[in-house]
């Protein structure tokens, strides 16, 4: 283990280390802590300039219910869910099939095809913006949830294929070959051998894609425009314009927007981290 385990250090250093941990953590998260405190402040507190101390009066429930009452926050939240969930399911499904094809069949152009999916992931969004916007309008999806669902599904399929192909490539070939000798059809091999084996990878991928799509801001500016379909990221920024002085509300909104990915991360931490390393290091 590197660095040398702290248990082997002198007692004074151990104590210093244990004291330094929470201090470092608070310093690192200071901006976020301030926002959390402010989401529980009263307007009077803010007017007095008490931005960084403890709230004089805790308005936690009031502020969080206020934001759902006076702003379309609930709609934004619902829109984000409507956009994110189908995207996760469909892109992961497409990518599992494509990953299987690229990992376990000796087809022509397999490296080229794989490179296209991988390379497509890293391109700047702006190179897609104008044609994707035009296509979305032509398909009649502009300013509907479909605009974002279809685009995100297509785009995330690239990353998912990279991920699934690497995972499936590491599975043993013997099972597949044995099944083939038995005369099992290719679809059944996929359905009954591959899918059960990739379950852990499916979880990792699903959490990651959920976070990517939930946090997207650029496409929610480009492909939708009305409050009825806006996801929470674009919605939050719209609120900032309308509620300029009401920092307690903006803060509460920010916390709400951040909550689902944070909760998911906590629930599925191991999977999440395995996904982020792109399979380059073993998690």
């Amino acid at each position: 283990m590197f660095p040398r385990p702290i248990e082997k250090a002198p007692a004074a250093r151990q104590i210093a280390y244990k004291a330094a941990l929470p201090i470092a953590l608070i310093a690192w998260l200071l901006p976020l802590i301030a926002v959390m405190l402010t989401s529980a402040r009263s307007i009077e507190d803010l007017n007095k300039g008490n931005y960084w101390g403890l709230p004089e009066k805790w308005m936690l429930i009031e502020n969080y219910s206020e934001i759902f009452r006076v702003t379309p926050m609930a709609t934004y939240m619902l829109n984000s869910i409507i956009i994110t969930l189908p995207t996760v399911v469909v892109s992961v499904a497409f990518a599992t099939m494509a990953g299987f094809a690229l990992a376990k069949y000796n087809i022509r152009f397999r490296i080229l095809l794989f490179a296209i999916f991988v390379g497509g992931n890293f391109i700047p969004f702006q190179i897609l913006m104008i044609p994707v916007r035009t296509l979305t309008i032509d398909l009649g999806f502009y300013d509907t949830p479909w605009a974002l669902i279809v685009f995100h599904t297509a785009f995330q399929t690239g990353f998912c294929t990279l991920f699934m192909r690497n995972f499936i490539a590491a599975l043993p070939n013997e099972l597949i070959e044995a099944a083939r000798v038995e005369g099992v059809s290719e679809w059944k091999i996929f359905r009954h051998i591959i899918v059960p084996l990739v379950r852990p990878a499916l979880a990792a991928l699903a959490v990651l894609i959920f976070t990517f799509v939930w946090n997207d801001y650029f496409w929610s500016l480009v492909l939708v425009q009305s409050d009825e379909v806006r996801p929470i990221t674009a919605g939050l920024n719209a609120l900032k314009g309308q509620w300029l002085a009401s920092w307690q509300l903006i803060s509460a909104g920010s916390i709400i927007a951040a909550l689902p990915p944070v909760a998911l991360f906590f629930l599925m931490q191991r999977h999440f981290i395995a996904g982020l390393t792109l399979g380059a290091t073993k998690g």
């Binding site: 590197f2 040398r4 702290i6 280390y17 941990l21 470092a24 953590l25 998260l29 901006p31 976020l32 301030a34 926002v35 931005y51 960084w52 099939m97 494509a98 299987f100 094809a101 690229l102 490179a115 296209i116 999916f117 991988v118 390379g119 497509g120 890293f122 700047p124 702006q126 190179i127 897609l128 913006m129 104008i130 044609p131 296509l135 279809v150 297509a154 785009f155 399929t157 690239g158 294929t161 290719e186 976070t211 939930w214 946090n215 801001y217 650029f218 500016l221 480009v222 900032k240 920010s254 927007a257 951040a258 990915p261 944070v262 991360f265 982020l276 390393t277 792109l278 290091t281 998690g283």
Partner: protein
């Protein structure tokens, strides 16, 4: 038919498996790239007819001060973002211990990466607020005047990059924590017996083993730096007077607000070509590893 299928399904099935993914990816990613490059040779307001004007958009671009400002800012992003891997490594080394509660501490350190850049942007815009922001409070406590970072042409880009570094460092930290977990204990012990420790150990024994993590950290950091859009859009809209714009934002501004699709496409093409260098490098490494 069914006989033919039975004989050839091993040849046909992979193409059927690939078809849905490839179709959506071709429609929404591959074809738009080609179309954007094509549009960049035209004058177009997004609605009417396109007029072919050859390289005129690119000629105009290279004479446009705003283009050079944005490109320079992208270089600042790229250079300063390179602080994320070493700082992330530093934090990972600090946290790589087995004390009670360390798992929770690690996940809390990772927080900034999980939350949306919109939220990060709002938090930092507020942090920099010259009236009540935390920075003003801190500066005031040591007797300094407030600095309006986001309305200062010389400081604004640094202010936004600092906000971007926060989640980026968290990402690099997690990559290194995972890497540190899979270090070979034998090599570390052997080096310890040889008397290696501290920085020498880090440099000669640990870092070489962390190469895969470093590679991914650098790739995602470069891509993150060149993709920077959200924070600029949230915190300043490229202002004041375009001084914090980056190519991604400049492109968005020209096409969405000025209806200059051809010009916007030309900016996007330039950004795409810059990123292709890194994408090509990544693919080359990946394919080389693949062929073993």
């Amino acid at each position: 038919m069914s006989q033919y299928w039975r004989k050839n399904q091993v040849k046909i099935a992979p193409w059927l498996f690939l078809a849905p993914a490839f179709f959506v990816f071709a429609l929404y990613v591959l074809n738009p790239i080609a179309q954007s490059v094509w549009i960049s040779f035209h004058e177009w307001d997004g609605l009417g007819e396109k007029t072919f004007i050859g390289l005129a958009n690119y000629e105009e671009l290279f004479d446009d001060d705003q283009f050079w400002i944005s490109l320079t800012n992208n270089v600042y992003w790229l250079v300063l973002y390179m602080l994320a891997p070493p700082i992330g490594l530093g934090i990972a080394l600090f946290l790589n211990q087995n004390v009670p509660g360390i798992r929770l501490v690690k996940s809390l350190f990772f927080f900034p990466f999980v939350i949306s850049q919109v939220v990060v942007g709002l938090i930092f815009a507020w942090f920099y607020d010259p009236h009540n922001g935390l920075m003003t409070v801190i500066l005031g406590s040591v007797g300094m005047d407030p600095i309006a970072v986001l309305s200062d042409e010389d400081l604004v880009t640094y202010g936004i990059i600092a906000a971007g570094l926060w989640p980026q460092i968290a990402y690099c930290m997690i990559l290194y924590l995972t890497g540190l977990n899979s270090l070979s204990p034998d090599q570390i012990e052997a080096a310890r017996l040889d008397g290696a420790k501290g920085l020498r150990m880090l440099w000669h024994v640990v870092l070489p083993q962390l190469m895969p993590a470093t590679f991914i950290a650098i790739v995602v950091t470069v891509i993150g730096a060149l993709r920077s859009f959200d924070l600029v859009a949230i915190m300043t809209d490229g202002g004041p007077y375009g001084s914090s714009s980056v190519l991604a934002y400049f492109m968005y501004e020209q096409s969405m607000f000025n209806y200059r699709m051809g010009y916007g496409a030309a900016i996007a093409t330039v950004l795409f070509l810059i990123m292709d260098v890194y994408i090509a490098f990544f693919l080359w490494r990946m394919i080389r590893a693949e062929r073993g």
